[in-house]
C-alpha cells in the first residue's frame, strides 16, 4: 500500500515533466496544425540557459528565468521567420522534416556552446521532501505540476477570451477564410511559434533541477511530450496535462509492479491501446486528419 502510493507519487513526478512539455506542443498544434519536433530543444535551451544564468553566473532566479525565456523566444522567432515561413508548399510532412532538421541544428549549437557534459542544478527551494503515509514527493515536482497547470490555464484563457487567441484559432481552422476577414495570418503564425517557444522554455526551466541537463536532453522530452499530447488528444491543453500525468503514472506503475527493464514498452503498449480504443486521444476535440 505504502509502495503503491510511492509509485503514484513517482509517476506524478515523471508525468509532470511530460505534461509541461506536452502543453506547448499541443498549443502549437491547436493554432497551426503543426507538430514541432524541435519543441524538446526549446525546453533544452530553457534549461541550459538557466544553468548558465542561475547556476553559474548566480543571477537572482526571477531575473535568470526572464532572461532565459526571452532568449528562447528569440530563437523561436528566428526559427519561424527563416525556417517555417519561407516554405512554399507547407504540407505537414515537409514541415515535420524541417522541424527535425531544426532540432538537429539546435542540438549541434547547444553542444558547441554548453559542451557535452551533463550539469545538474539544485532545486528552487531548500524544502525537505514531503512525506505522506510513508511515501515521499519532492517539492520541485509540485512546482512542475503547478507550472503545467498555470501554463495550461493561461493558454486556455488566452484562446477563450482574447481577440488574439480567437484569431489564432480562426487561422488554424481555415487560413484563407481568416485572411479574408482581415486576420494577418502570417503574424499569427509567428505569434503561435513564439508562445510555444516560451512555453517550451518555461517547461525546461522548471524541469532543470530534477533532471540532468545536456545538449541532447530535448530528444527524449520531445518524444515523451509528443506521446502525452497524443494520449490527451492533440490540440487539447488539459488533455496534454492529463496525458502527461497518465503516461508518467503508467511508466512508474509498470516499473514498480511489472518490470523496470520494459517499463517504456508497457507505457507504449498502453498508448497503442488508447489510440485503438479512442482514436483521437482521450480528450479529442476533433478528428486530427492532416498529413
Amino acid at each position: 500500500m505504502e509502495d503503491l502510493l510511492q509509485y503514484l507519487f513517482s509517476g506524478i513526478t515523471i508525468g509532470a515533466v511530460y505534461a509541461v512539455v506536452a502543453i506547448g506542443l499541443s498549443m502549437l498544434y491547436r493554432s497551426t496544425e503543426l507538430i514541432n519536433f524541435a519543441h524538446g530543444e526549446f525546453a533544452m535551451f530553457g534549461a541550459l540557459g538557466l544553468v548558465t544564468l542561475w547556476g553559474q553566473l548566480h543571477l537572482p532566479l526571477p531575473l535568470a528565468f526572464v532572461l532565459s525565456v526571452t532568449g528562447v523566444a528569440c530563437v523561436g522567432m528566428v526559427f519561424e521567420r527563416f525556417a517555417l515561413r519561407p516554405v512554399k508548399d507547407p504540407n505537414p510532412i515537409t514541415l515535420v522534416i524541417i522541424t527535425v532538421g531544426a532540432s538537429i541544428v539546435f542540438r549541434g549549437i547547444a553542444m558547441n556552446v554548453w559542451g557535452k557534459d551533463p550539469v545538474s542544478l539544485p532545486p528552487f527551494s531548500d524544502l525537505e521532501s514531503i512525506e505522506i503515509a510513508g511515501a515521499v514527493i519532492v517539492p520541485q515536482s509540485l512546482y512542475i505540476v503547478g507550472a503545467a497547470l498555470v501554463l495550461a490555464g493561461t493558454l486556455h484563457l488566452f484562446f477563450r477570451y482574447t481577440i488574439q487567441g480567437k484569431a489564432m484559432t480562426a487561422c488554424a481552422v481555415n487560413k484563407k477564410a481568416a485572411w479574408l476577414t482581415g486576420i494577418p495570418s502570417e503574424r499569427m503564425g509567428l505569434f503561435a511559434v513564439l508562445i510555444s517557444a516560451v512555453s517550451g522554455a518555461v517547461a525546461g526551466i522548471f524541469i532543470a533541477p530534477v533532471t540532468m541537463n545536456t545538449y541532447d536532453m530535448g530528444t527524449m522530452l520531445g518524444l515523451k511530450g509528443f506521446c502525452a499530447a497524443m494520449i490527451g488528444g492533440l490540440g487539447s491543453l488539459w488533455g496534454a496535462f492529463a496525458g502527461g500525468i497518465l503516461l508518467g503514472v503508467l511508466e512508474s506503475l509498470g516499473a514498480g509492479l511489472i518490470s523496470s527493464g520494459s517499463k517504456d514498452a508497457i507505457a507504449f503498449v498502453l498508448l497503442l491501446l488508447i489510440l485503438y480504443l479512442c482514436p483521437g486521444g482521450l480528450f479529442a476535440q476533433k478528428q486530427a486528419e492532416r498529413f
Partner: protein
C-alpha cells in the same frame, strides 16, 4: 677487361644508389599512421572526448621526442557517435583509404564488437578502450583492450563487501551494454563471495527519475544497493535514494569514476563507495606505487593542454598509445610484428594498471588495477583495508 669490369661495378653502384637511395630516405621519413575511432559526440562522448584528446596529445608527445625509430606518428581519428554502423564505416576508411598500422578505440562495447570482424579480416592490431568482457573473451588474435573488464571491478567490489560482511544486495543497472555486462558479472560472481542478490532492477540511460525502482529494491530489504551505470543515471539514483530517505549503503561502479559524478550528485554523493582506477586518488597512493609517477605526468600534461580534470577514461587511450608505441619499436611498420610484440608485452605500467599480455589474455590486467574509493567531503578518499 678488368677496367671494363670496374666500370660496370661502378655503374651498378651508381644505379643502385640512385634507385634505392631516395627510397631509403623516403622510408626513413615515412610516417606511421595510427587510426583512432572514438565516440567524441553522442551519448558516450564522456568517454570518447577525453580519449580523442589524449590520443592527439600522446601522438604530439611521441613525435616531439623524435618519433619511433625515426618515424613520425600520424593520428587519423574518426567519430563513431556511439553508432555501430558509423564505426564500421570508420574502420573501413582507416583500413582501405588511410592504410593505418594499428587502431586505437572504439570507446564502447557495441561499436568495438561491430568492427572486430573487419580488423580480424584485414589483420590490423586493434586496441579497444571499451570495458565489455566479450571483446577479449574469447581471445581474438588481433584484438586487445586497455579498459579493465567489468569482471575485475566486480571482484574488487565484492572483496570489499565480503570484508564488510555484506550478504544481501539489491542491484540496479542501466539498460545499455555497460549496465547489462555489469549485471551479468554481478550475478555470476556473487556466489564466490557468499553474496545473494535479492532484487534486480534497471533504469534507462536518460531516465530522470528512478524512485519506483528504488522503492521496489527497498521492499527486498538488502544490506546494500549496487548501482552499475555511467553518468548521469547513477547520479539520479543517488539523489533519489536521498529523497526517499532510504538509509541503505549505496555502492557504485567505475563507470562514474570521474569528478563529474560528484558535481552531478552533489550532497547525495557523500559516503558512496566504488571501485575505481588509481587516477582519482593518485596523491594518496604510497610513494612506491609504480603507477604514481605516470599518473602525475598524465594529469599535468592533460590539464595543461586542455584544462578541466582528468578521468580514467582518457587513460584508456593513453595506455593504448604507449602500448602501440612500445610494439612499434623495431617493427618497421609490419603489422604482424606489431601484433606479436603486443602479445608479448609484460609489466607495462600505464594509467589504468600494469599490463601483462599473453596469447590467452589480451586485456592483461588483474584486479589490482582497481582500488576502492569513498566519496567524503565532495572528494575521493582511498580506502585501505
Amino acid at each position: 677487361m678488368s677496367i671494363n669490369c670496374m666500370k660496370r661495378i661502378v655503374q651498378l653502384v651508381i644505379v643502385l644508389t640512385l634507385a634505392v637511395g631516395p627510397l631509403s630516405i623516403l622510408h626513413a621519413a615515412s610516417v606511421y599512421k595510427i587510426g583512432g575511432i572514438f565516440s567524441s559526440t553522442g551519448r558516450a562522448s564522456f568517454l570518447g572526448d577525453p580519449e580523442k584528446k589524449t590520443m592527439e596529445m600522446m601522438v604530439d608527445k611521441i613525435n616531439a621526442a623524435g618519433g619511433i625509430d625515426g618515424h613520425m606518428l600520424e593520428a587519423v581519428i574518426y567519430d563513431s557517435e556511439g553508432d555501430p554502423a558509423k564505426a564500421v564505416s570508420a574502420v573501413n576508411k582507416l583500413i582501405h583509404r588511410d592504410g593505418v598500422i594499428a587502431i586505437v578505440g572504439p570507446s564502447t562495447t557495441p561499436t568495438t564488437l561491430a568492427i572486430v570482424n573487419f580488423v580480424e579480416r584485414a589483420k590490423i592490431p586493434l586496441i579497444s578502450c571499451a570495458a565489455g568482457i566479450k571483446i577479449t573473451s574469447p581471445v581474438k588474435p588481433w584484438v586487445f583492450k586497455t579498459a579493465q573488464s567489468d569482471r575485475l571491478a566486480v571482484s574488487a567490489l565484492y572483496e570489499h563487501m565480503q570484508a564488510k560482511s555484506i550478504k544481501k544486495v539489491g542491484i540496479i543497472t542501466v539498460s545499455n551494454s555497460f549496465g547489462e555486462s555489469g549485471q551479468e558479472q554481478l550475478v555470476s560472481l556473487a556466489g564466490d563471495y557468499g553474496i545473494t542478490i535479492v532484487a534486480k532492477e534497471s533504469f534507462g540511460a536518460k531516465d530522470t527519475d528512478t524512485t519506483p525502482q528504488l522503492t521496489k529494491l527497498k521492499g527486498a530489504s538488502p544490506d546494500a544497493i549496487i548501482c552499475w551505470g555511467t553518468n548521469p543515471g547513477p547520479a539520479v539514483v543517488a539523489k533519489n535514494l536521498k529523497q526517499l530517505k532510504i538509509n541503505i549503503p549505496l555502492f557504485q561502479s567505475h563507470g562514474v569514476a570521474s569528478a563529474k559524478f560528484i558535481s552531478l550528485a552533489g550532497e547525495a554523493a557523500e559516503n558512496i563507495v566504488l571501485p575505481s582506477g588509481k587516477i582519482l586518488v593518485m596523491d594518496q597512493l604510497p610513494a612506491d606505487d609504480p603507477q604514481k609517477q605516470i599518473l602525475k605526468d598524465y594529469e599535468t600534461m592533460y590539464v595543461s593542454k586542455y584544462g578541466g580534470a582528468v578521468s580514467g577514461f582518457g587513460g584508456y587511450a593513453h595506455d593504448a598509445m604507449t602500448l602501440v608505441a612500445e610494439a612499434l619499436k623495431a617493427s618497421d611498420g609490419d603489422r604482424q610484428k606489431v601484433r606479436n610484440a603486443l602479445e608479448n608485452i609484460k609489466d607495462h605500467v600505464g594509467v589504468t594498471g600494469r599490463f601483462s599480455f599473453s596469447p590467452e589474455d589480451h586485456n592483461g590486467l588483474t584486479s589490482s588495477a582497481f582500488v576502492m574509493v569513498e566519496i567524503k567531503n565532495q572528494t575521493w578518499n582511498l580506502l585501505t583495508d
